[in-house]
């Protein structure tokens, strides 16, 4: 137990958690935008996966940042596809989401095989690039806390910093900018913004595009930093975890950050614990995050529920 505690407190573990959290966080923010606009984006998984592959393939021929942008763009395109089918063609958005996931699962492998000349599993025959870590070792000169700061803050992916910034940016957008007001209005009660002359469907469409873009960005991080390269189904359910994180995070950017961190931390734990408790059944360890999520969800929603009642808001 002490051992475990020591590990968790170690700066190495902190770094691991940041790394495991970043892709989740980006996807979660994507899910948040869509959810707040009233369009549940269950396609995060697929959008991430396509983001992964696109980033990897592009990174072979272009600098890393171009690859990252490519991953982002790929996700955005899928978001647009969702918008077209769900909003224009009135298909059910959950179905569209699942369809996109299925398509991504197959499509990525197919595309990978094309790109690598027949490799259907991994991109190890492609010399793909990585996102450079941000080196803050100069902080070391700071007397006393310097080394600690370095061990905590140095070496993270650029996208980790960007993701952290995005939490703030999205909060600012949602609660400090007119379009954020529009977006939340559209999500909560479309009749009002429509009567106010706001193009409801356009707002939803944009949210879906941005949502996909963020998921794609998460994919880029996963395939250019957490692991450098692509492998079939490498997102391994992270998109769905993100979906959970959105709601667990009480549909608020900061909540999303905390929820993503929680899941990230558990991903980290599930990795270190077997090493510490050799005889603890792996399955049960892998179960912990989901159990805790449910418990946390219950707790939060209970408090949220009461808060809402206290504010006396009727629609809930």
């Amino acid at each position: 137990m002490i051992e475990l505690f020591a590990t968790i407190m170690s700066s190495a573990f902190f770094v691991t958690v940041i790394r495991t959290t970043t892709p989740l966080l980006l996807a979660t923010l994507g899910g948040l935008i869509a959810d707040l606009s009233g369009a549940l984006n269950v396609a995060l998984e697929g959008q991430m996966l396509v983001g992964c592959l696109t980033a990897v393939i592009v990174s072979v021929y272009a600098p890393w940042y171009v690859a990252v942008l490519a991953g982002l763009a790929a996700g955005a395109v899928l978001g647009l596809v969702m918008a077209i089918f769900a909003l224009r063609l009135k298909a059910d958005i959950i179905l569209v989401g699942f369809a996109i996931n299925i398509m991504a699962a197959g499509g990525t492998v197919f595309a990978l095989a094309m790109a690598t000349g027949g490799d259907k599993g991994t991109s190890i025959n492609l010399a793909s690039k990585a996102i450079p870590p941000v080196d803050l070792s100069f902080l070391g000169v700071i007397p006393g806390i310097g080394p600690l700061l370095v061990s905590l803050l140095s070496g993270h992916s650029v996208l980790s910093w960007i993701a952290a910034f995005l939490v703030f940016a999205i909060w600012y957008f949602l609660y400090r900018m007119p379009w954020g007001l529009w977006l939340r209005g559209v999500g909560e009660y479309p009749a009002a913004p429509e009567a106010a002359g706001i193009p409801v469907n356009a707002v939803r469409a944009w949210s879906l595009v941005v949502s996909g873009a963020l998921a794609g960005l998460g994919g880029a991080q996963l395939a250019m930093f957490n692991y450098v390269g692509f492998a079939r189904d490498m997102t391994a359910g992270r998109g769905f975890i993100a979906l959970g994180a959105v709601l667990l995070g009480a549909r608020h950017p900061v909540g999303a950050l905390l929820a993503a961190l929680l899941f990230g931390a558990f991903e980290g734990l599930a990795v270190v614990m077997p090493g510490l408790f050799a005889d603890a059944p792996a399955e049960l360890i892998r179960m912990i995050p989901f159990v805790v999520t449910i418990l946390a969800l219950m707790l939060f929603s209970y408090r949220a529920q009461r808060a809402l009642k206290l504010r006396g808001v009727k629609s809930a």
Partner: protein
Amino acid sequence: MAPLLQATSIGKTYPGGVVANDGVNLTVSAGEVHAVVGENGAGKSTLMKILFGIERPDAGELTLDGKPVSFANPRDAIDAGIGMVFQHFSLVPSFSVYENVVLGSEPRSGARFDRKRAIEEVRALSKRFRLKVDPLPAVGTLPVGQQQRVEILKALYRDARILILDEPTAVLAPQEIEELFVAVRELVAQGRTVIFIAHKLPEVLEISDRITVMRAGRSVGEVGRSEITEQGLATMMVGRDVALRVDRAATAGALACEIKALWVRSESGQPSLEDLNLRVHAGEIVGLVGVEGNGQAALIDAISGAGPMSAGVAYLNGTSLGPLSTLERRAIGVANIPEDRIAQGLAGGASVAENLVATKLGDRRYVRRGLLDLRAIKANAEALIARYSVRVGGADQAVATLSGGNMQKVVVARELSEQPKLLLVSQPTRGVDLGATQFIWRSLTDARDAGAAVLLSSADLTELLALSDRLVVFYRGKLVAAFHNDDTLTPEVLGSYMLGLAVQTQEEVMGALR
């Protein structure tokens, strides 16, 4: 002078085949208050939705300042200087008042939403047009009356030249209506034009300059206020002559419902009803007077079981209601016509028949050993549809496709189909047309004469005065006055108590509380 806004031979058929408008003409000239009247389902709201670009007409044309226009969406209409207040509000519940007002045309500093300016502008606006409302709270927490002011502010904020008000008075207390009219006159004085829909003809005659009458999707005529009487208008609307008169209860019966020291506290703890003592007798209607949100609703909810009783007791014929569930209360004869039919009184997606039986799922006539008796349910529906002359395609049509007047009939029919012992009624004729109003009033008095004790809450003082045998006035959760209803009692008197300008002594109250 040239008409400002002209609609000629507008036609509109909804998907589902309802012909809502069928060759409607409307001519509105600048600076006038133009009323549009007609029965429920006559097509007024549809016409307005067309003027505001929510619905697109299948036929006909619109001209503004003599130039033909067509609105693809509300934005176009707004840009053309048209504003609309819907009869079913379109406000985002969790947003604050000012956010709702400026939504879509927010004041900005750079890319930022300038909240300060928004709040100031809303304050200024509400001062200028005498529409008092605090910009800060979430609209979901406001009473309907205030929500509507928010809606009007919304339109004014986009400084609409033409303001459409779809049944604005339906939800207001007399004083509020006066305030509204003041605001409307203010608007006209400032050169704006108002299109005004209402079911209450006295209001129409008071505020409007010209009146267009609609019937069954057609415009059947346009008259000036001076050229017509209330009776004439009514006849024109309904096609027959209608009189709104009902007779008081002959004699009140035995004590039916007794409420002792009842307190109701909201989640946040502050009381919405304080130490209420009230007795209702079989065969009498007790009117609950008060501006919305002063305790009437809390009382009704507490009795019906929809809301909590924090302290105190309520008996119906000796049985204490407190411990009983909503269903058990219904079983011993409590019936309830709720304030908001769409949100609370009906399941829009379900069929009329299902809605009519929804409160009787414990009843052996319709449910035996958990199984539905579809024949009985259908029969029940058809009987009630006929008895209450609900305009509907059939018992299995979805309620959501009915016009509100007919929706209300469905609710009333369900609640009165069994003779209740205690009948709770809120806003029974809100937004309901003359014919239907007359009909519903008759139904209520019939129930009373059959021995029901009735608690009637309404924002419409004329209605209260017409129906009630006794009236009690609520202010800030307290019962501040009680009256026996006689011809000396006027809306003005009630109004002064409603607004807390006057308070009765304990003796006076007791005097009226037998």
